[in-house]
Symmetry: D2
């Protein structure tokens, strides 16, 4: 950028470096390598051999063990960060200072304070800060979001998510921080206005004495008397990935492990005829009716979610707008996780959750022009 | 009866009257009519036509609309009560005063105080007071109890129960009191020592504004860091009846809607080698291992659960012992439900649950001799 | 009928006697007892005690062990026959001679010749002869018939039916005659024009040496290159009741053991663009495309199939028309079963099946007036 | 082998070239590249660019478009052939003449005559000719083979295989040659003594007028009154991969699309007590009993099947023995497919199948010495 040659290139592709070559980095590298909007410019890891292995697996890309090499390269537009959560803040802030757009693996940061600083700095700099909430870009979740946005389910009554299996007990995080970010980021993505709960009650159990919760439940009241709930569990012998979203018009079941019918939309439910006068139980009971209609399972396109992540990141940069899973989405997820921590410390008491304060700086159109 | 012949008969069978001919009464009547230990002596209902219809359906039995007719009949040994919960206390107390053994539909009573009085009175009178926790006598639950008692699952780590479907919104009770008694009575039946939780957190939602919770979650810590959890829901378009019981040795899944494989026992799990010295996370992680063994699904006998209820009631009377789902089991279920009520009123805060005080009077052998 | 008294009665209810009080008779008795179009007049069985038990179970009905009592009663309009297949011909012929409308349990008769004689005699007499193909009156099969008739599936490409479980080995019939009548009568009911196959190849196996086939396969070519196939099996440890009906527009799967989604209609398939000129494989391949559309599961009403059988029998009598599962449907099923027998004797060679000759006598409007 | 240089090499690895870089070649290349017993020496394809792409994908391997380069290289011990079936004979014969061991993709050849010549030539040359029946090396099939060999199922009563989905209509082969080789090679692998049927009846349908069967059924009697059956279908909207193997002791169900429970072994069945005297149906019926025992699902190791193929190929070469899916297994599959063709031509008439004549030349120990 800044010289004639790069202008030509930029009309074609944005240039990105992947920071962190551990578990998730190779997936990012592969998708930025093959995504039509992107040029994968480098892989960066403190362990240069690890960086090299990832670079080889995608057909050969420059490697470095020095973050400065990446941040000081004027030809690099953006960085994708897949390092441990505790390092996100420092790396993201440095990248933003260097004028790079940033996509960062979930969770956005290891604390809400750190995350907020990152989001605000990105806003001030006019840069895109995107949370890599990969699940949101699966065909199933994109469809769910569309159905809800179109009013197909009606008003949301409840969201119940179960994510259980015999999982690896993580050395550094509990089952809430390991699994629930998926459920929370999906809820935030599909619910109109995002996941806006007024409190979080977290119930955890550590019956094997591993030092952290291996079984977890999150209960979160939503507006209008609705509720969201998550069951995350590392100790279940069977694997379940299921979310039920109940609405006044229809109810949707997403069974992610059933490739032949991932989404089912049931035209079944309870209709309450709201009567203005007379609120006695009997009167009310007389106005309850039950629908037992058809079930419909929409066809879903094939497609790797991370390809959608890469495309959205590029589009947000080019269009000078926030990403669909922007930094604020990441903050909302973090806020729930931190409230869950506090609830756990208080024995499961519901922990109030303040709505996020408006951020000082908004992304403005043209902000990507440096 | 009333002559020598009946003495002969009574050595063969116990005589019982069914009180209440509504939804559940016909089932009781049918099973006491056909059960080999019982003679069905009468059906009693304030609505004599309703009583008559039930009597006809089981081949003709005397009917009455006067409870006194039943309680004053010296040939009747026992009564089975299937009237609304709010009437249980008065009828049960009268029956006990009249020297009848009593079986009563769940919930035992509409309050813990009422229930406790009933249990104590039965003890004082040396009479059997049994809770009709029908599910406990299904082949599946009997097998679960046996497997746990034999140590086949090891120590219990968690119990997670889901009981959801598009259910009738009850006019008088919420989803906790309608559905959770099943889960709670089953847990009480299969867990060694019964369901003994130190607190109950209840999260309810009434998004349709029916005036009571239609969606409910119960979180209950168990001894040793374990947890029990119930999800009850009237608004789910799909029906699920599933309980997972995780143990240190094996984990059991009961899927009541899969008649071809109701019980599955998984030899899968996490093994933690407890090391006395060195509790650092790394050291601990080094001693975690995962088992991925076989799955086993025991064959279950056929059999209607209520037939088992009738048999157990007769056996308890004859043997002068408490029933396996005795009044105390009913009290433990009531205690959880009442704590759930209090938790709901406090916005989901965990509500402490005192262990039931020892009851003053114990059933003694010979108590059945009148 | 034919006299004033019966006219009065007919406006109210038709009168029927059930012949045979074994396995199926009680079901018939119950449904004719409760069906609004019927008056259950008598139960007839050679074993008068068995008749009496059935009569008691439906609230008391006259019984007899003499068929003549029934056939000579001028107030009885119709008989429902649930005796062994080998007795059908004699009883049905006698009933028709006596001017009774007849419904007869499947199979219609124990031979095509016998069945044909019955059908022709009913036609000559202007009486309804209905085959009790019960499955055809389930909500699922009625819906399938409707969908096909409406062209929703397009032209039928294949019908594949699997009916397997650990079944009782019957003393007198093989697995084809025990199970396949269900599949064949359903196919006959839902396929436009009935089940019209030009040949039947039957492959049976008797690996336990019971003296008859316990495992059976039927392959039946249909018009236009389509095929129907049945797999019937008494030795399967798992129970499957599934029929797939493939069409040019959509394909339907009926899974009778999945009460939550019995019918699924898939908008998936292969489209062949028919090109008039150029039939080379390459050219053809270029015109194949694949549809991967939505899945739809229609809601089905509740309802016992036999109630529908009773209603249809009454309607056919009143309207002077053939029943929807009339004698000819029974003959088509018999013709396939007899061809299967011949194929088995010839080691599985396909056995040609002539189209049924037109019957000499047609039911005419008004034929029911005697 | 037999000279100094190769002795050194052979203690380390066998050297192999992959011929054919189309659909299956990359999988072979990857597994021979990573398999510990193998050195991947070259990729050969007439389309050198295609060869190069495969070579790149496995980290760089010499490529050639000239088969002679491979066959004349004295350092290459073996070739893996993944070219169209019609070319197998010529390439395999040339490779054998050049002293190479050969593994060839299914089907072994495009005719039984061609296949037999290949097998005989390999025998004469003392070389291993292996059929790449990949499915046989999946953990599930290896377990099935072991269970049957250990007598766990008892005598085999039936094998029923269903392999249906919305499949690509192949330009050159029908559904029998496309899908059934999987079922047939698996049956051949797990049945003691291989798949030895005395006849094949094939029923095909081409309702879309594609010019070849898109729906197919194969019925094959086995010894002792047992039967094997295959249902292959390109037009099913749902995907099923299920094989049921019934035995006198137990019955096994393999559901390949259920990763949580691929294998289920049912201790359910029918027991016939064989009575020497008195063969009347009634007497026999009196000696039928039903078992309804437990279900057991063995844990299966993870592992890619092709890695097992590569290991078996190496072991057969080193040990101078036939491979477990050797050329003769390929011939038995071919024989069934050819008989199916003849049956189809004759309208589904069962086509007798002669047992394969003993082959003139047997692999002898030491035969691998060149």
């Amino acid at each position: 950028m800044g010289n004639g040659a790069s202008v030509v290139e930029k009309t074609a592709r944005l240039s990105i470096a992947v920071i962190g070559a551990g578990y998730w980095g190779p997936n990012l590298a592969r998708n930025f390598r093959t995504g039509p909007a992107w040029h994968l410019a480098a892989i960066c890891d403190l362990d240069i051999d690890r960086a090299r292995r990832v670079a080889d697996s995608v057909g050969g890309v420059p490697v470095t063990d020095d973050l400065h090499d990446v941040l000081s390269d004027p030809l690099i537009d953006a960085v994708a960060i897949a390092t441990p959560a505790r390092t996100h803040h420092a790396i993201v802030m440095a990248a933003l200072e260097a004028g790079k757009h940033v996509i960062v693996e979930k969770p956005l940061a290891d604390s809400g304070v750190a995350g907020r600083e990152m989001v605000e700095r990105a806003g001030e700099m006019g840069l895109v800060l995107m949370a890599d909430h990969t699940y949101c870009y699966t065909p199933a979740v994109l469809k769910i979001r569309e159905l809800i946005a179109d009013g197909f389910l009606g008003d949301i009554l409840f969201v119940d998510s179960v994510r259980i299996n015999l999982g690896l007990i993580q050395p550094d995080v509990d089952v809430f921080w390991d699994l629930a970010p998926h459920d929370l980021s999906i809820m935030d993505f599909v619910l109109p206005g995002g996941l806006r709960t007024t409190s979080v009650a977290a119930h955890g159990a550590d019956p094997l004495r591993t030092g952290k919760a291996c079984i977890g439940y999150l209960a979160m009241p939503l507006a209008g008397g609705a509720v969201a709930h998550v069951h995350a569990n590392w100790l279940s012998p069977t694997k379940i990935r299921q979310m039920v979203i109940g609405g006044t018009k229809r109810t949707l079941v997403w069974d992610d492990l059933n490739p032949q019918q991932r989404l089912s939309v049931y035209d079944r439910g309870v209709d309450i005829e709201q009567v203005s006068k007379g609120s006695a139980a009997d009167a009310r009971a007389a106005h309850i009716s039950y629908r037992l209609g058809d079930t419909w399972s929409p066809a879903l396109p094939e497609g790797e979610a991370l390809a959608g992540v890469a495309a959205e990141f590029a589009a947000a940069i080019r269009e000078g707008r926030s990403a669909r899973t922007g930094g604020e989405a990441g903050l909302r997820v973090l806020a729930v996780l931190e409230a869950a921590n506090r609830s756990l410390e208080r024995g499961g008491a519901p922990e109030p959750l303040e709505p996020l304060e408006p951020l000082a700086v908004e992304l403005v159109s043209g902000g990507v022009v440096r």
